[in-house]
């Protein structure tokens, strides 16, 4: 564990990612304390006399949106939406994927075949189209969006965990454990699952990057989290037709989405290198 942390801190990119991650989490948790304006309040002085949004200025640091609301405050609260959905959806996807992958890899037989053929089937589905269709079917709330993303994203995790479980089950020490009479729960939870933790940790981090992007995309298409809940993709959706005149309304939320996704990508990638024993000692 200490070794992993050391490796992370040695890698400059991962360190950058970790700092960004902490900053975003801080922004999300302390949004009510940090934000200079309430996120839903429409300011009369937040619009020009013609009713156009204001560019960044002293009162509204990142400018205002089409309704005269403070963009900075909305971005802070939007971090909550992104992180909650990112963590919940990815957590659910990892749980579903790990469960199905372990069952298919350990039980094998008919059940295993059915599960793996089903993941093949899901791989043949256009994921984004499926997510959009699902989101359009269930009138989306925060948790529904998370659920939809989880339903689309578990497939890869299931495949990775499946192939690892199959490789583990064939190891001789598992056979030995079976031969001395260990019951299946003991074999599964003491001898197999601990070896899967690194993979789950890596996917639990990397997956959030994908999830954040997918949530932003759904909100951008208008089938994500509903207004007035602030969401970064949603802010861009609302101001899309206006973006040539008010580019900051696309630029700032866009940067936020990118940095959040980037930070999880960087940390996840560094974790993968640090947790992979074959990479040890190599540069």
């Amino acid at each position: 564990m200490l070794y992993v942390l050391q490796q992370l801190l040695k890698n400059k990119l991962a360190l950058f990612g970790l700092v960004m991650m902490i900053l975003f989490c801080g922004a999300a948790v302390f949004a009510p304390v940090i934000s200079p304006h309430p996120p839903d309040k429409q300011y009369f002085e937040g619009l020009t006399l013609e009713g156009a949004p204001l560019p960044p200025n002293k009162t509204f640091w990142l400018g205002t949106d089409l309704l005269g609301r403070s963009l900075f405050s909305r971005l802070l609260y939007g971090a909550r939406t992104s992180l909650i959905i990112g963590i919940a959806a990815n957590g659910a996807a990892v749980l579903i994927g790990a469960f199905l992958g372990i069952v298919a890899g350990y039980v094998k037989g008919l059940l295993g075949t059915v599960i793996m053929r089903f993941t093949d089937l899901m791989m043949a589905f256009p994921a984004l189209l499926l997510a959009i269709a699902l989101a359009a079917i269930f009138r989306p709330s925060l948790w529904i969006v998370a659920l939809v993303i989880a339903l689309v994203n578990w497939v890869q995790i299931a495949r990775v965990i499946y192939s690892q479980t199959v490789a583990l089950v064939e190891q001789e020490y598992i056979e030995a454990a079976g031969a001395i009479g260990a019951a299946w729960p003991r074999i599964l939870f003491i001898h197999i699952v601990p070896h899967l933790w690194p993979t789950l940790l890596v996917w639990g981090t990397l997956g959030i990057a994908t999830t954040v992007l997918l949530e932003a995309t759904l909100s951008f298409l208008g089938v994500g989290v509903r207004p007035p809940t602030p969401s970064w993709g949603g802010i861009i959706y609302e101001s899309q037709s206006y973006f040539l005149d008010a580019p900051w309304l696309v630029f700032f939320p866009g940067i936020a989405i990118m940095l959040l996704s980037l930070s999880f990508n960087l940390v996840g990638d560094a974790l993968r290198d640090a947790l992979d024993p074959t990479q040890r000692g190599r540069q």
Binding site: K12, L13, R117, F118, D120, L121, M123, A124, F125, P126, L128, L129, L130, I132, A133, L134, A136, I137, R139, A209, L213, A216, T217, F220, L221, G233, I236, Q240, F243, L244, P247, V250, F251, P253, G254, I257, M258, L259, S261, L262, N265, L266, D269, Q283
Partner: protein, 306 residues
């Protein structure tokens, strides 16, 4: 080879049957009743019932599914509820735009991804490698719509070189293809790098070097041919993914591809179009994988032996 092909084909057909089953079930989960939407608010109960009968929506679900499959086998994807045209015609009319965007995207993905990945692998651990990997992560972390809007703002508004969207000429293609190419190129460069790093470590590379070959020919001839295999598999996957159309980029640039059609159909609950587009995408994904499986043996004949 033939056995391998037959096996893959039968798997593909099974997957496609599964796909039709799922799309079919999904279409009946839609909360809005397509008949009501077609008939309009003021329609009488009798009109609603007659439309329902006309569309065959009054029959039990298994029968509807069997009818759907039997028409499908004859190449009939059904008629759009809203537009009153054959779905297959609608898809065919969108196909050129979709294929064009796909070709442009894969071109940019390779143009960005391959040189970047090769360079990073040969400069492994040095600052060029770190920079390329950081940039590739940035590329895959930008949402497509943000990149699309940003490119539009820069290259169609501030410096008006390209049109603000639409379809028709090569100039229309460049920005949407570049948008998709940048995010895809990030993945390609990472894959190219890791595959190249593995190959450069092998014995035959040492042999090639000790023969006195230039580094250039070692990397670009001997190593590349071996390292390119996963990239080809990925192109196969990409072909399939882009058959579904790039919903987001098509919506940003007003590109009339299959993705835009599917997106409009989802908003209007035009079920036959949604089912048709999903099916075309699934066929594309299955065929793309199959295509990659067929091309790889030509580059690496050892595949035959496995």
């Amino acid at each position: 080879m033939l056995i391998f092909l037959a096996k893959r084909l039968s798997q593909a057909i099974l997957i496609l049957i599964g796909v039709t089953l799922i799309t079919f079930c999904l279409s009946f989960l839609m909360p809005a009743d397509p008949v009501r939407m077609l008939a309009g608010r003021s329609a009488t109960q009798a009109t609603v019932e007659s439309i329902r009968k006309e569309l065959g929506l009054d029959k039990p679900l298994p029968i509807q599914y069997l009818k759907y499959i039997s028409r499908l086998v004859q190449g009939d994807l059904g008629r759009s509820y809203k537009q009153k045209t054959q779905v297959s015609e609608l898809i065919m009319s969108r196909l050129p735009a979709t294929l064009l965007l796909m070709a442009g995207t894969i071109f940019f993905e390779l143009l960005i991804g391959l040189p970047a990945g090769i360079l990073a692998a040969t400069k492994r651990g040095r600052s060029a490698d770190n920079w390329i990997m950081a940039l590739s992560f940035a590329g895959v972390s930008v949402p497509q719509f943000v990149l699309g809007l940003l490119l539009l703002y820069l290259f169609a508004h501030i410096i008006p070189i390209f049109p603000l969207g639409g379809y028709g000429s090569l100039k229309h293609l460049i920005l949407p293809a570049l948008t998709l190419g940048i995010s895809g190129g990030g993945w390609y460069s990472r894959m190219m790098r890791s595959s190249m790093v593995d190959v450069l470590r092998q014995d035959f590379i040492r042999t090639a070097r000790s023969k006195g070959l230039t580094e250039r020919s070692v990397v670009l001839v001997h190593a590349l041919r071996n390292a390119i295999l996963p990239v080809i598999a990925m192109i196969g996957l990409d072909i399939g993914i882009f058959m579904a159309g790039a919903v987001v980029v098509e919506s940003v640039y007003g590109w009339p591809g299959i993705g835009q059609m599917a997106w409009q159909a989802i908003q209007m609950v035009d079920i036959p179009i949604i089912m048709g587009a999903t099916l075309v995408a699934a066929v594309g994904i299955v065929l793309g994988n199959l295509l990659a499986d067929l091309v790889i043996p030509f580059i690496d004949p050892r595949v035959y032996l496995r």
